[in-house]
């Protein structure tokens, strides 16, 4: 299962990277969201899968899944939510101000002079 999940994480990264490399602002933003999914899946996978019950002591199981990565992922998910929403709004503000959603046109005249 770890191998399958590694592949899934890889696919998510691939998809995200592909989108991020496109010129369109929306696709780039969606791409970053997918990349962060990939990172979260990978973090969960790397901790080892299905090694016990859900980490709730109320279940009275003998072994539990590693709770630490789950807490980390939760933190990471929430942070990436904050960042993604910021990025999204930044995208649309940029569009409104510069009048383009094509990153090729966002080059800036002063890249070097």
């Amino acid at each position: 299962m770890e191998i399958v999940m590694s592949i899934i994480a890889g696919v998510l990264f691939m998809g995200g990277t592909y989108l991020v490399l496109s010129k369109n602002m929306i696709r780039i933003i969606i791409g970053t969201a997918i990349i962060s999914h990939g990172a979260h899946v990978l973090l969960l996978t790397m901790a080892g899968l299905k090694s016990g019950a859900p980490p709730l002591l109320g279940l009275k199981a003998s072994t539990y899944t590693d709770p630490l990565p789950q807490a980390l992922i939760l933190t990471a998910i929430v942070i990436s939510f904050g960042v993604t929403s910021f990025f999204l709004v930044l995208g649309y503000r940029t569009y409104k101000e510069t009048g383009t959603d094509n990153t090729e046109k966002m080059r800036g005249t002063d890249s070097y002079d």
């Binding site: 970053t32 962060s36 990565p69 070097y112």
Partner: protein
């Protein structure tokens, strides 16, 4: 076990939160943030002395013993860096009071500034790799906002790129933590160091992870093939924001490389550190190329930020105690002098109304103090004794010689010369040369802007002249990095 070392994070954090409550009361915003920055400076200096006298300070947050809880660790390196950060944050704040404008002030500028400082402080003192990630995010999100704050076209355009690159690098950071956790099963830096140190035979996967972390931190720290985002985005925001970015943000990335490559990934130095050394040299080269290529004062300075990255990381790559000390000295110096230079450039721009050198000239006639401070700062940057850059550079050369990396020393000296060339050009064309603007034509005044610059410059001179006083601190810091066992003992053994 004291709560002392949480304060560097808490002071700006609390200040920032309090500032959120009354955004429109500008006087309150200014006053509180200035006071808090001053208090922070005092506290951090106190921490330096505490660390010097009592050794590494740790704080087990929530009272949980490491590695299970998060532990804050202030060794001398961290203490020095938080102090340097506090030293620059105060004058830059004062500078921005005079130059940032009411509108930005009313829209939480100071709060974001404080949060940025909190993030930087935390990144320096945390002893947990995931907590480092979280602090990075605090710092980054504040930097995203500061870079776009005001919402001009240029800012929006550049911050889109800036955010994108950093979002990706954050994802890579999580990936790195994931791999590291899979292999070592822990997040605590001291335990990482201990566990990886205990491996007799090489663990090839750790080399891969080390390279991954180099990429992650290199992205934040603008290491050679990863620096592309930096020049335009640092040149976009107003001067005080550019100053705090130039002074601090890349330094956090550098610090992280420093920390991980001196304490954690030491199992395969033949490969990883050689790579780091090569990249550092290339960073210096590309940095000076950029600095020489531009005629825009902000850009020139921004590329010099990249050069400094190369210098410090070269020190790290030597893996010698002298090299480490050189890197520490240089890092400390660079934080302060880059802050000073960005502020002075800011004052220049205020007066000249342009960032381009061809629009400037003869500024020294009406702004002699600014001009001579700038000249001195350039000399400090280049490493002319007795100013602050010298000791760092000397020890970097010594460390490089100890490690036998002569060709990197040559690169370093050559790039120092070009740094001098690029910066003295600003002096020659901006302050010297035909007078372009008579008194009446100037776009702004330097009222209130010179004092912060003077403060930073004074600190720089004091570090250089009083190097003997700073030396034991740097030596302690380097010792801890060179002998990770000291750190491990302080964190894991009570």
């Amino acid at each position: 076990m004291t709560n002392l070392i949480i304060w560097p994070v808490l002071i700006p954090l609390l200040t920032g939160i309090l500032l959120l409550f009354a955004p429109k009361r500008v006087v309150f915003q200014r006053g509180l943030s200035t006071v808090s920055a001053a208090v922070l400076l005092v506290v951090n200096i106190f921490i330096v002395f505490t660390v010097q006298q009592q050794g590494i300070q740790t704080l087990q947050l929530g009272g949980w013993q490491p590695p299970f809880g998060i532990v804050l660790v202030t060794d001398m390196l961290a203490a020095l860096l938080i102090t340097a950060a506090a030293v620059v944050s105060l004058p830059i704040l004062v500078f921005s009071i005079y130059s940032i404008g009411k509108e930005r002030e009313r829209f939480y500028f100071y709060a974001f500034y404080q949060f940025l400082i909190a993030g930087v402080m935390g990144a320096f003192i945390t002893g947990d790799i995931f907590n480092l990630f979280v602090f990075f995010e605090v710092m980054l999100i504040s930097s995203y906002i500061l870079i776009v704050h005001g919402g001009t076209k240029k800012q929006l355009r550049e911050s889109f790129k800036y955010v994108l690159v950093n979002v990706i690098s954050s994802a890579f950071f999580v990936v790195g933590v994931a791999y590291l956790y899979a292999v070592t099963g822990t997040l605590n830096m001291a335990q990482l160091s201990e566990r990886i140190g205990s491996l007799d035979t090489g663990a090839p996967i750790l080399s891969v992870i080390a390279v991954l972390f180099l990429i992650v931190f290199g992205l934040k720290g603008a290491l050679f093939p990863l620096y592309f985002w930096l020049p335009a985005s640092y040149a976009a925001p107003p001067s005080p924001i550019a100053a705090i970015f130039g002074a601090l943000l890349t330094k956090v990335g550098i610090y992280s490389i420093f920390r991980t490559y001196s304490m954690i990934f030491t199992h395969d130095t033949a490969f990883t550190h050689q790579l780091l050394g090569i990249l550092a040299a290339l960073t210096m080269i590309i940095g000076v190329i950029g600095a020489v290529a531009h005629q825009d004062v902000k850009k020139i300075l921004v590329y010099n930020v990249i050069v400094a990255v190369g210098f410090v990381l070269f020190g790290v790559s030597t893996m010698t105690e002298t090299g480490y000390m050189g890197a520490i000295f240089y890092l400390f110096h660079d934080i302060i002098i880059k802050g000073a230079l960005f502020l002075m450039i800011g004052a220049m721009i205020t007066v000249a109304g342009s960032t381009h050198l061809k629009e400037m000239g003869g500024l020294i006639k009406y702004h002699p103090r600014l001009g001579w401070m700038f000249f001195t700062a350039v000399m400090a940057l280049v490493g002319v004794p007795p100013l602050s850059g010298f000791i760092g550079k000397l020890m970097l050369v010594q460390g490089g010689a100890e490690a036998g990396q002569y060709w990197i020393i040559a690169v370093m000296m050559a790039s120092s010369l070009l740094v001098l060339y690029s910066m003295i050009r600003i002096f020659l064309k901006g302050f010297y040369g035909k007078i372009k603007l008579e008194k009446a034509d100037q776009y702004g005044t330097t009222k209130g802007l010179l004092l912060p610059c003077a403060f930073l410059l004074t600190v720089s001179v004091l570090i250089g002249v009083g190097a003997e006083a700073v030396y034991p601190l740097a030596a302690t810091a380097a010792e801890t990095l060179y002998e990770p066992q000291i750190y491990i003992d302080a964190v894991l053994k009570e």
